[in-house]
C-alpha cells in the first residue's frame, strides 16, 4: 500500500457498517469494526423481501427517474432529493456488485436477475434472493470483510459495545470508548474518523416490533446526547403485516402482498367460520375497495392505517379483535413456495399453521425508523445529485463522525418504501466510506497526536457509570423498565397519535427516566453481565424515545407515517385532478406543505430535546402532486 493508511473505527456490522468497512479498508486504511455480536448476525439478516434497483427486467418501461419519483413521493417529499437521486442512479451498479460477491439473487428462466413487485410502486423493481434477501446481502459483504480480515486489513471487535465518543477541544471526534461485553473492561480506541452504523431502534416499541432484540437505538442516542443532531424522529414506520406474537411480532414480508396476497376481513366480525368457508361475497377486501389502483400493494403507512381503521374504528377485525387475514391460499402453491418459502416456514414454525392452507392472521407492528442521526451531503450542481467523494456526505454534525444505515435519516423522508432500505443501508455505507476517505485525506493531525487525558477522562466517566449501575440497589428491574417503555410508546406514540396523548407520553417518559435512579441491577457477576449492558441501553432508549415524542408533538400535521387525525386533510373521494373539489384539496395540501414540509431537527439539552426545523431540498420534484394511491 502506498500510504500507511489511517485508523478508522466503524461501529456496527450490518449492511451499512460492513459496506463502510469494505470501502475504507479497500482504500488502504486500517479499520476496527465494533459490534455487539458476530457481525453476520446483525439485524440486516432479517430482511426478507428484497432490494430495489431499476433493471426493467419485465419490460414495464421502468426508469431510474420513476424510482426517484416513487421514493420522493413515498416519503411525502420530506427527504432531501439529491441523495435520493444518487442512490437510485447507483442502485443497479450496487446490485451487480453484490452479484459479483456471490449473492444468490433469484433468476428468471433466462438466467437473468428476477424482479418482483413491492408496495408503493407500479413496476417490478425489487431484486430478491428467495425470501431471505437481507441475509444473502449481509453474508455477501460479510465474506468480503472476512477476506480483508484474513489479510489483516480489518480488525474486528465483536462482543464490544460502543459507549461514547471522545472529542478533542475543538469538538472533533478522535475516538471512542467501548466496553468488552465479556470482561466488562472499558477501553478507549483512537481513531481518525468514526462511522456509526448501529441500525434501527424498534426495541423502543418492544415487544410489538419486527426488529431484532439488539435494535435498540442506544448507540445513536449516545452520540445524540454528546451533541449530534437527530432528525425526523417522529417518523417511524409500522409494518402492516406482522404475525401476532407475545415475544416479538414477526414480519410477513410485503412480498406476500407483492406476489398476490390479499388482505381481508369477514364482512361480519361475528363470523366464526373457518376463513376458507367464508364465501367471496362475505369477505371485505378493504384495501382493494379503498385503493383500486394499487389494491393490496399500497404503501405501508396507508396499509397500516387502513388495518387500524378496520379494526379499531370500524370494529371489523377478525372476531372483533386486532387481527386481519393475509391470504395466499388462492395462489399457485408451487409458485408461492418458491417465491416465499422462507417466510412461509417462519409462519409455520412460529404460528404452527400453514399459510397455504389457511390465511395468516396479521396486524401492524413497529418496523423501521425513517428518522435518525442528521447527516449532511454536498450537492453536485451539474448533476443535481450528491457530489461523489465529498467529505460532507453522511457527515453528522460532529466533525469526524459519520453515520450510515438505518441510524441515519437521509433517504426515506416521512415513510420508507419497501425494499428501499437494504438499498439505502448498503449505498449509504459505501458513500460514508468514500466520504471518510476524503475526510482523512484532508485531515492535518491524526488521533495519535491527541493527549492521553482526553481518553482517560472518558474511560473514567464510563467506568463510573458502570460502577453506579452495578451497585444500584433500588427496586426497578431493568427488564421491567424496558417493558414499560415499549408499552408506553406503543400506546401513545404509535400508528395514530394525538397531542393530548403525546403530552402524556412526554411526562411518562420523564418519569421513566427518573425510575433509573432507583435501579436494581440484580446481578453482581462481573463477567458477561448482560443486565448491565441492557440497563445502560434501556436508559439511552428512554432518552431517544423522548426525542421521538417531542418531535411528534411538534409536528401538527399528517405526513407519511406520522398521523394525527385532528390535522388530517381528507382527499375528496372519487374526485380527481381537474375537479374543483380536488383542486381545492390540492390548494389546502400545498398550504400545509408551505408550513410543514421541513425537516425536524432535535438537539440534546439536559431538560428536554430542543426542536427546530430546516428546509428540504426539493430541486428535483416540486410537491405538486399529493400522494394518491386510489
Amino acid at each position: 500500500m502506498m500510504n500507511r493508511g489511517r485508523e478508522v473505527i466503524v461501529i456496527g456490522g450490518g449492511l451499512g457498517g460492513l459496506w463502510a468497512t469494505l470501502t475504507i479498508a479497500e482504500a488502504g486504511h486500517r479499520v476496527r469494526l465494533f459490534s455487539l455480536f458476530e457481525v453476520m448476525r446483525s439485524h440486516s439478516v432479517c430482511a426478507q423481501g428484497g432490494i430495489n434497483a431499476v433493471f426493467d427486467a419485465k419490460g414495464e418501461h421502468d426508469s431510474v427517474r420513476q424510482h426517484i419519483v416513487d421514493t420522493i413521493k413515498g416519503g411525502s417529499y420530506l427527504a432531501n432529493q439529491p441523495p435520493i437521486q444518487s442512490m437510485c442512479e447507483d442502485a443497479p451498479g450496487l446490485i451487480r456488485t453484490f452479484e459479483r460477491m456471490g449473492v444468490t439473487f433469484s433468476r428468471t428462466p433466462e438466467g437473468q436477475l428476477d424482479q418482483r413487485l413491492f408496495g408503493g410502486v407500479k413496476h417490478r423493481r425489487t431484486c430478491f434472493a428467495g425470501a431471505s434477501t437481507g441475509q444473502q446481502l449481509l453474508h455477501g459483504v460479510d465474506q468480503q470483510v472476512r477476506r480483508l480480515e484474513a489479510d489483516d486489513r480489518v480488525h474486528k471487535h465483536e462482543w464490544w459495545e460502543f459507549l461514547s465518543l471522545v472529542k478533542d477541544a475543538d469538538g472533533v471526534c478522535r475516538g471512542i470508548v467501548a466496553m468488552d461485553l465479556r470482561s466488562l473492561e472499558v477501553r478507549a480506541f483512537r481513531a481518525d474518523a468514526v462511522v456509526l452504523a448501529t441500525g434501527g431502534l424498534g426495541q423502543i416499541y418492544a415487544p410489538k416490533t419486527t426488529c431484532s432484540t439488539n435494535s435498540t437505538g442506544a448507540a445513536a442516542s449516545r452520540v445524540y446526547q454528546q451533541g449530534a443532531r437527530f432528525a425526523n424522529a417522529e417518523f417511524f414506520q409500522f409494518h402492516p403485516t406482522a404475525m401476532l406474537g407475545e415475544d416479538k411480532t414477526r414480519l410477513m414480508s410485503e412480498a406476500a402482498r407483492g406476489e398476490g396476497g390479499r388482505i381481508w376481513v369477514p364482512r361480519d366480525p361475528a363470523d366464526r367460520r373457518e376463513p376458507a368457508r367464508i364465501p367471496e361475497a362475505e369477505r371485505f377486501y378493504f384495501l382493494e375497495d379503498w385503493y383500486p389502483a394499487y389494491g393490496n400493494t399500497v404503501p405501508r403507512d396507508i396499509a397500516s392505517r387502513a388495518i387500524w381503521k378496520v379494526t379499531r374504528e370500524l370494529g371489523q377485525g377478525v372476531g372483533g379483535s386486532d387481527r386481519v387475514y393475509l391470504d395466499l391460499t388462492h395462489l399457485d402453491r408451487g409458485f408461492v413456495a418458491s417465491r416465499l418459502g422462507a417466510i412461509l416456514s417462519i409462519y409455520r414454525k412460529f404460528a404452527g399453521s400453514d399459510p397455504l392452507q389457511a390465511p395468516m392472521e396479521i396486524f401492524p407492528a413497529a418496523h423501521y425508523a425513517m428518522g435518525g442521526l442528521w447527516v449532511d451531503y454536498e450537492k453536485d450542481t451539474s448533476t443535481g445529485g450528491m457530489r461523489p467523494g465529498s467529505p460532507r456526505n453522511h457527515a453528522t454534525s460532529i466533525p469526524g463522525l459519520y453515520a450510515c444505515g438505518e441510524c441515519d435519516y437521509a433517504y426515506h423522508g416521512a415513510n420508507r418504501l419497501g425494499a428501499n432500505s437494504l438499498l439505502s443501508a448498503s449505498y449509504s455505507g459505501r458513500v460514508a466510506g468514500e466520504a471518510v476517505v476524503s475526510y482523512l485525506n484532508g485531515l492535518a493531525t491524526g488521533a495519535e497526536a491527541m493527549p492521553a487525558e482526553y481518553f482517560d477522562a472518558e474511560i473514567r466517566y464510563q467506568a463510573q457509570i458502570n460502577q453506579h449501575f452495578m451497585h444500584a440497589r433500588g427496586d426497578q428491574n431493568p427488564y421491567h423498565l424496558h417493558q414499560a417503555l415499549g408499552a408506553l410508546m406503543t400506546a401513545k406514540v404509535g400508528v395514530v397519535r394525538n397531542n393530548a396523548e403525546l403530552d402524556a407520553a412526554i411526562a411518562e417518559l420523564a418519569e421513566l427516566e427518573q425510575r433509573f435512579a432507583r435501579l436494581d441491577l440484580a446481578e453482581a457477576n462481573a463477567w458477561a453481565n448482560q443486565s448491565l449492558a441492557h440497563a445502560r441501553q434501556v436508559f439511552d432508549m428512554v432518552k431517544l424515545a423522548q426525542v421521538m415524542a417531542a418531535s411528534a408533538r411538534a409536528r401538527d400535521e399528517c405526513r407519511g407515517a406520522h398521523y394525527k387525525p385532528e390535522f388530517a386533510l381528507e382527499m375528496p373521494p372519487d374526485k380527481y385532478a381537474g375537479d374543483p373539489e380536488f383542486e381545492a384539496y390540492r390548494a389546502r395540501w400545498k398550504a400545509n406543505n408551505a408550513e410543514w414540509l421541513k425537516t425536524t431537527v432535535a438537539e440534546y439539552s439536559t431538560d428536554s430535546p430542543r426542536i427546530s426545523f430546516e428546509p428540504v431540498d426539493l430541486s428535483l420534484l416540486q410537491p405538486e402532486q399529493p400522494r394518491d394511491y386510489r
Binding site: 451487480r96 438466467g111 406474537g245 407475545e246 392472521e361 463477567w527
Partner: protein, 255 residues
C-alpha cells in the same frame, strides 16, 4: 392459531457456568408461559424474576438472541439434548422439564453463551468468499445462471452459522482440527459461483489439508439437526467428487 390456550407452567433445567474456567452447575426454574412461547421468550421472561424452584433469587441466565425468527443463528443451544435454535423451539412441542445446556463443542463463555469464533475462523481457513477486484461498480451485466443452478446454490446460502451441525458432529470438537460441515458447505457454494470457481483449487487444497473434508466420517448428524435443512451431506459428496478430480489433477495433471 393456538392463542386460545391458557398460560401454563413449565419447568426449566438450565446448566449454568459463571465463567469459562468455573465448574458448571444446575438451576431449576418453573415459570408460567403463554401459548406460542418459545425457549428464548421464556428465558427473556425469566430475566425479570430469576428465582429458582426452591425460592432462591439467582443471577439472570446469560444467553444470546437477536432475530427471534431463526435467521441470525445467535440463539443455538442444546435443548433436551438436541442442538437447535432456541427461538424456534416452541415450548408446547417440548417434553417437560425442558433441559437447556450450552451448545456443545464450543467453549462456554457463561451459562448458555458460547464462543463460536472457531466456526468463523474456519470460514477463513477454507476461504469462503468470492475474490472480487474491489467493491466498486463495474458496468458488466451479472453472469447468467439457470434457475436450477440457482436453486441448488440457494440452499447453501441460507446457512446462518448457528453451529448446530458442528455441535452434533462426532468428528468436530474444540481440540480437533476438523473444519466441520458448515464451512465445507460454503466451499461447495463458492466453488459453484461463476467467478468464485476461479479459486476452486485453492479452496479444495484448503479442505484437503489436516482437518479437511476427509476428516468427515459420514455420521450425517449434521444434516439431521440443521434447522435450515441445508443439504450438508450432498455438499460433502460433491466435494468428495471435486477433491477426487483435484487429486488426479495434482498427481497427473502437472499443475
Amino acid at each position: 392459531m393456538t392463542d386460545a390456550h391458557e398460560p401454563r407452567t413449565i419447568e426449566l433445567r438450565i446448566r449454568r457456568q459463571d465463567n469459562p474456567n468455573s465448574e458448571p452447575y444446575w438451576h431449576h426454574f418453573a415459570l408460567p408461559v403463554r401459548a406460542g412461547a418459545n425457549v428464548v421468550s421464556a428465558l427473556m421472561d425469566l430475566r425479570g424474576q430469576p428465582v429458582t424452584t426452591d425460592g432462591t433469587r439467582v443471577d439472570p441466565v446469560a444467553f444470546e438472541h437477536n432475530c427471534m425468527e431463526e435467521v441470525c443463528g445467535a440463539c443455538a443451544m442444546l435443548i433436551n439434548g438436541r442442538p437447535r435454535p432456541a427461538c424456534s423451539a416452541l415450548l408446547a412441542d417440548l417434553d417437560s422439564p425442558v433441559t437447556l445446556e450450552p451448545l456443545p463443542k464450543f467453549p462456554v463463555v457463561r451459562d448458555l453463551l458460547v464462543d463460536r469464533s472457531r466456526l468463523l475462523d474456519n470460514l477463513k481457513r477454507v476461504r469462503a468468499w468470492v475474490r472480487i477486484d474491489g467493491p466498486w461498480d463495474t458496468h458488466e451485466h451479472p453472469p447468467r445462471l439457470s434457475q436450477q443452478a440457482w436453486a441448488a446454490n440457494y440452499l447453501y446460502s441460507r446457512c446462518m452459522n448457528c453451529g448446530c451441525c458442528m455441535a452434533a458432529c462426532p468428528q468436530f470438537d474444540q481440540d480437533r482440527p476438523f473444519v466441520g460441515p458448515a464451512p465445507l458447505a460454503q466451499v461447495r457454494l463458492m466453488n459453484a459461483h461463476p467467478t468464485g470457481r476461479y479459486d476452486k483449487a485453492t479452496r479444495l487444497h484448503a479442505i484437503m489439508a489436516e482437518g479437511g473434508l476427509s476428516d468427515c466420517g459420514n455420521a450425517q448428524n449434521c444434516v439431521r439437526v440443521c434447522p435450515k435443512e441445508i443439504p450438508l451431506t450432498t455438499a460433502i459428496g460433491e466435494l468428495g467428487r471435486q477433491t477426487t478430480v483435484q487429486l488426479l489433477k495434482d498427481l497427473f495433471g502437472g499443475a
